[in-house]
Symmetry: C2
Subunit: 380 residues, 2 copies
């Protein structure tokens, strides 16, 4: 039986190839206009075919990954220049070194003096020189050193002098852009992100240290940066798929959302004005990020669309248990329109989290037929 | 290199075999005392070895599953009597029938007249008679017919008369027990759950219909039911592992939590009094169920324990991004105690969701060594 929207087992993860392609094109055009290389973050897609499509779009600096498992996976698929954008700890040195010895240019992130010293020593013991970027906190307040922290220069000197490390530059992630609610916000955050990274790069160079790489990025800032002077590469990931949150904060439109979850109606709760579907907490994730937005933008655990991808206004997945989703509506639901077995698409709040529940993408090309099946790599 | 708490790649899912065994023993003893068979729900564990351990504990009615994928997986491992405890829709009939034709006794759930009629017709077309339980809503308000809904009897008649269905009885799930906060609450909910199912069973029998199966269960009600007269089988799942939420509502103690996530410290944020770990939204899930509890019971995205499993008071995972967890504390953190690379265990808020991110359990037996690796089956 050929796979299509009417024959796939539900729940299933759908990917619209043309929308993905258009999202990849848009970021490639942004990078060209901004005069930087792209280093797309594959944490969202975790898929060899999608990395290849991104590579086709133009000159990449390489790929960004969020786990060593992703690094190993993409290296095995021919991607040699990889940035592991999470600060590394000693339990991962041997695995990282094995990739470097195999021929990968695996760049690591560091934001701590003791971490840098340990890495420099370990690289030497393991017979490699790890390329390292110093991570800067430009206002996201997750990880990284403050741009004006005296440890920045001290860490740079440790990494440059260390026998097992090679100072390559700086990176930062303007993740505070997710708190932005307008284009003006994103433009401003993009400049904060750029200025923080470029400012540190200039200080390193002024101290006689090398800094060939200045790496920045988040999807909202990548979309709206006015310029990226002094930056060498742009990293972001969720732009490939988009999601309801990114649409709400203006990084994309709802038409740019490339993935959705195919689900089937498994129950009617007329007295509660609810439809039940077979996509619950595992199929959608429990990410409630749109709950922090304006009331009209809140989508529970996801928004509801027809098989054609047309959003059904007012219908959202208001509750989930492990395998049940409860679709609620502000208006009375026309139950006759949704008999048991009706198939719907659920648009994700947060693509990275929703996609992670699945081992494959069922790829569509604007119609109901599955034109390809692409596997994802999950786990660590 | 042999696997142990000091050599496993992080994040990793740990399972304490003795704690699991004790949890399985406790429920088996409860079932014996209550005079019912168990039908453990494998939605939490999704693991052949764990199903086998549950089976070793005493007479089971069979297994409960939350997806047809689980049904196929456990059938392939020799479990023939399976209850798929989510109402079925037409897109799943062929897959369910294939299992029945292969020899599985696969019981289905139904709570809708049109669903029952469609199932009865489809079973005949597919050459099988599906055993079916009518799902009753005893107050959870997720799925099921109200006990006094006239459709209950009409549906029973459809299923009994249908050429492709066989009426087997009733099931209900007292999921409202998760709102309970005391033993008295759980005792009361257990009686509501029991009485709803038994009452419907009596009505079916009074109407001359068969009702050999009266199936109830949720972990809190299973632990505290005063009696289960009229019930034939007890279903629950999270009792195998426990979690912080179940401990908070009294279904287990924290010592009964059998799984945890091994994580490593990857950063210090002294100015924010935070440790960063390499377990974030994907490794822990975004389930914030303990946030609805009393302030002292709220654990963010998980609570923090040493490698020995000793809880570190006041330390919780206060924030997550995809691969970062931010451990915060009410008291100042002694950063010298947690150098980069320090390994910790994160206790899960909700075991079902946390475990679903992993493809295997690293099994421990009270010490640091991994004594077995058991695979999980995820997806649909």
């Amino acid at each position: 039986m050929s796979l299509s929207l009417s024959t796939l087992s539900t729940p299933a993860l759908l990917l619209e190839r043309r929308v993905l392609g258009s999202n990849l094109d848009r970021l490639a055009a942004r990078a060209t206009a901004l005069g930087v290389l792209l280093r797309p973050h594959l944490k969202t897609a975790k898929c060899g075919e999608i990395a290849a499509l991104a590579k086709d779009r133009g000159p990449l600096a390489g790929l960004t990954v969020s786990t060593l498992h992703e690094a190993e996976y993409f290296y095995a698929r021919g991607h040699r220049d990889l940035f592991y954008a999470v600060t590394i700890e000693p339990g991962k040195y041997a695995r990282a070194a094995a990739l470097v010895r195999a021929g990968a240019r695996l760049t690591l992130a560091c934001d701590h003096l003791a971490m840098g010293a340990a890495l420099a020593a370990a690289g030497a013991e393991l017979g490699v020189r790890f390329p390292v970027l110093i991570e800067i906190d430009c206002g996201d307040h997750r990880s990284g050193l403050s741009p004006d922290d005296p440890d920045v220069l001290a860490l740079a000197q440790i990494l440059q002098a260390g026998p097992g490390t090679e100072l390559r530059g700086v990176c930062t992630h303007g993740g505070q852009s997710y708190a932005g609610r307008s284009v003006a916000d994103h433009v401003a955050t993009a400049e904060v992100e750029r200025a923080a990274a470029v400012g540190v790069a200039e200080r390193l160079r002024a101290a006689g240290l090398p800094c060939p790489v200045v790496s920045v990025g988040s999807t909202p800032t990548a979309m709206y940066a006015a310029h990226l002077r002094g930056v060498t590469e742009l990293r972001c990931g969720v732009y490939m798929f988009g999601d309801l949150f990114q649409a709400a904060i203006g990084s994309c439109t709802e038409a740019d959302i490339a993935i959705s979850v195919l689900a089937a109606v498994i129950g009617h709760r007329r007295e509660r004005n609810q439809l039940l579907i077979d996509a619950g907490a595992l199929a959608l994730s429990k990410d409630l990020n749109t709950s922090q937005l304006q009331p009209a933008q809140r989508t529970g655990y996801g928004a509801v669309a027809t098989l054609d991808g047309v959003r059904l206004p007012g219908l959202t997945v208001a509750g989930v248990s492990q395998e049940h989703g409860q679709i609620a509506s502000v208006a009375p639901i026309d139950f006759a329109r949704f008999p048991i077995g009706t198939r719907l698409r659920i648009l994700p709040n947060h693509s990275c989290l929703t996609a992670a529940a699945y081992d494959r993408y069922h790829v569509l090309d604007g119609g109901p037929d599955v034109v390809a099946t692409w596997t994802r790599t999950n786990g660590w």
